[in-house]
């Protein structure tokens, strides 16, 4: 088989930072092991569809193995909804294949254009985290190619330490070849949504606590530009899978058919001045005004879970220099104070996020490096500008003091010190890593930046 190698500059979804990598794209499972035997000074890293925002899927001057061509479904049990597939299968593919048969993803992030292997590596969460936890809870087993060439199966029962190091392990324990996933039974492709518009942060958080437990899904859009009385105001969106009798009579015949959306695209990089405090204020104001409280709105799954997927390459709206998404989780204790400090600090330093999303998190899946913990998680999008990273460093300090942490799938810039201070389970992960990849063949830019294999104080 020919060695398939292409030297190319690539980025994550935030288009910051950039990295010159050696790209391999195996088309047969056997080629992956063959690829790992090539000479690469900086080792190898598997990559899905490049939807991690920062440097999680970059490996400068090293091998990056694109898993997208290994996307075959291998087994499906119609009665239990358990699917076994290759790691390169995309969530969009899973939905397209199984939703018409009444099965949906058990957990989904805000895009369906990512691979199931990458979702496991990041132990992604979705709008049902407060209820169900992250995707790791629904992974029954993994097949992992170790750097030695050995293929191991792991689950909660078999090789549990490898399993828990791989769920949330950022692709650094081995190359995940296959995933066995429990899907969710649904009656329709629709979500019934209750919108609640709130006046300030207090009301936003109170509404979450009052109503969250009655819904499978919940998330809040926050107006991060509003200051003073409207500080922390937003729109909460509570959702449940619609049942057949929730649909209008005309839709009951084909409950899994939804209207097709026209895809739009951002054809060019917008200039930097396109996103300024004024335009952000206008955007946030309009969004707030046009989303009043309403109950029982029927929304198709694409619109509810993947509003941005219909705008292809929306990441170009942030301009040539790209953007970073800063997402932290803060424990409930003093949660409101810490959230307030974060939002106020950003506002004071005039770092206005374009998009900010808040949600409550439940228990961790047990993934050693998994991000979620019980508390509030908030995600803020910032275009890369001079001085931004100093502001984010300040926000990081608040997170460290609060006992929270930042999400690796989003991160592009936190310091190794911040990482080591906020992921106390790291030594446990390092022990497994040393055992399954003793030569450190699996590497990434993020792994080197955060000094994942070292002890950092």
């Amino acid at each position: 088989m020919p060695d398939t190698l292409l030297q190319k500059e690539i980025t994550g979804w935030g288009r910051y930072p950039r990295a010159l990598c050696h790209l391999y794209r195996p088309e047969r499972v056997r080629e992956v092991a063959h690829t790992l035997r090539q000479e690469e000074p900086n080792g190898f890293l598997p990559r899905g569809l490049g939807r991690a925002y920062g440097d999680a899927a970059l490996n400068s001057e090293g091998g990056v193995i694109l898993m997208e061509r290994l996307d075959r479904f291998l087994a499906f049990d119609e009665t239990t909804g358990v699917v076994r597939c290759e790691a390169g299968v995309s969530l969009a593919d899973i939905i397209a294949t199984f939703l018409p048969r009444g099965w949906f993803l058990p957990v989904t992030p805000g895009t369906k254009f990512c691979t199931i292997g990458a979702c496991v590596a990041c132990d992604i969460h979705g709008k049902n985290h407060h209820h169900d936890g992250s995707i790791g809870n629904f992974v029954r087993a993994l097949t992992l190619l170790l750097s030695s060439g050995e293929i191991v199966r792991c689950s909660r029962e078999v090789n549990p330490d490898i399993f828990y190091a791989t769920v949330g392990g950022m692709g650094l324990t081995g190359i995940t070849l296959e995933v066995e996933l429990q899907l969710r039974r649904v009656d329709t492709a629709w979500i019934t949504v209750d919108y609640v518009r709130t006046r300030d942060l207090d009301e936003t958080l109170r509404t979450f606590h009052e109503r969250d437990e009655h819904y499978l899904y919940s998330v809040a859009w926050l107006d991060c530009v509003a200051q003073g009385k409207g500080f922390g105001r937003g729109v909460l969106m509570f959702g449940k899978h619609a049942q057949i009798d929730h649909l209008p009579a005309a839709r009951r015949q084909n409950p899994f058919t939804i209207p097709r959306k026209r895809e739009k695209t951002v054809p060019v990089d917008l200039p930097e001045f396109a996103l300024n405090p004024l335009s952000l204020k206008a955007f946030n104001g309009v969004y707030y005004t046009t989303h009043p409280s309403r109950e029982g709105v029927l929304v198709d799954y694409n619109t509810y879970f993947y509003p941005l997927d219909s705008i292809l390459q929306w990441n170009r709206a942030y301009g040539k220099r790209g953007f970073v998404q800063w997402q932290c989780v803060l424990p409930y204790e003093k949660g409101i104070e810490n959230l307030t400090r974060i939002l106020e600090t950003a506002q004071r330093r005039r770092a206005f996020p374009f998009l900010s999303v808040l949600k409550r998190m439940g228990e961790s899946s047990g993934g050693i490096l998994s991000f979620p913990m019980p508390g509030y998680t908030i995600a803020l999008d910032f275009p890369v500008r001079n001085g931004l990273f100093e502001v984010l460093d300040e926000l990081d300090k608040i997170v460290i003091e609060a006992g929270g942490r930042l999400y690796l799938a989003k991160d592009a810039r936190m310091s190794a010190e911040t990482f080591h201070a906020t992921y106390p389970q790291l030594p446990r992960w390092q022990a497994v890593k040393a055992q399954v990849d003793p030569k450190g063949l699996l590497q990434s830019d993020m792994e080197r930046r955060l000094r994942l294999m070292e002890a950092v104080k």
């Binding site: 020919p2 190698l5 499972v29 056997r30 479904f73």
Partner: protein, 245 residues
């Protein structure tokens, strides 16, 4: 519902071609050498489309096994309405410029193997009085080029073979389609930057199945390659031999 054999079924191109037929409700027999990959692709087609998919080992270069192989396919499917030849390789092209063994290997897989199996299929369909044969040739077979002529010659021979087969079988209700893809985004082109009109294997598969079902004789996929090759074939040899394309 048709019963279709896809020979050389583990390339991305063949896999998506299987998707296209399975989507239409056809029953498939997928055949290739790499049995692990074959089983993966077969499960995938079954799960995605609920299609009936059989598999079997097939070596394009082992022509002495082809007769027994085809009989086995017909027995398993209970009949046969179509054969799609996708097997092809560019492996060893670099050596083929110097060593007889390597050039023989390229011709064995890309031409001799194809001609062998399709001769048997032609006789079967001729007797049956219906069926279709589709061969995946290549635009590389339209003109000999210094960079890939060992491969191009085999594909050019295959195109001529299919042309003759069409002439022979068209009076017997059997359709023969020659597919000529341009550059396809697979491992064959990976790492070669900025190839013109590079098409995804999904697109090439979709358009070639459309050509087969539409009863086309010769189809360039994507269609732009018809124009490109028209121009390339029109260049006078005295000038072409000095070009570097």
């Amino acid at each position: 519902m048709r019963r279709v054999l896809i020979a050389g079924a583990t390339s991305p191109l063949a896999r998506y071609r299987a998707h296209e037929f399975a989507r239409l409700g056809d029953t498939l027999f997928l055949a290739a050498r790499d049995s692990d990959e074959l089983e993966r692709i077969a499960s995938d087609v079954r799960i995605r489309f609920g299609a009936t998919v059989h598999t079997g080992r097939f070596d394009a270069a082992a022509v002495e096994e082809h007769e027994a192989f085809l009989q086995d396919v017909i027995r398993t499917l209970g009949g046969l309405e179509g054969v799609v030849w996708v097997a092809g390789t560019m492996d060893g092209l670099a050596e083929a410029f110097r060593t007889p063994q390597a050039v023989k290997r390229l011709i064995d897989v890309n031409f001799t193997g194809a001609a062998s199996l399709l001769t048997l299929a032609a006789c079967y369909f001729e007797e049956q009085g219906e069926g279709f044969i589709a061969g995946i040739s290549s635009v590389a077979g339209d003109r000999g080029r210094g960079q890939n002529y060992p491969y191009g010659a085999a594909k050019g021979g295959f195109s001529l073979f299919l042309q003759g087969l069409r002439n022979r079988l068209s009076k017997r209700g059997v359709q023969v389609t020659t597919i000529k893809p341009g550059f396809i985004d697979t491992h064959m082109t990976w790492g070669r930057d900025k190839l013109p009109f590079l098409a995804s294997p999904q697109r090439v598969a979709r358009e070639s199945v459309q050509a087969i079902l539409g009863g086309k004789d010769i189809a360039y996929v994507p269609a732009i390659w018809w124009l490109v090759m028209l121009v390339i074939r029109a260049i006078p040899e005295s000038f072409f031999k000095r070009m570097n394309i």
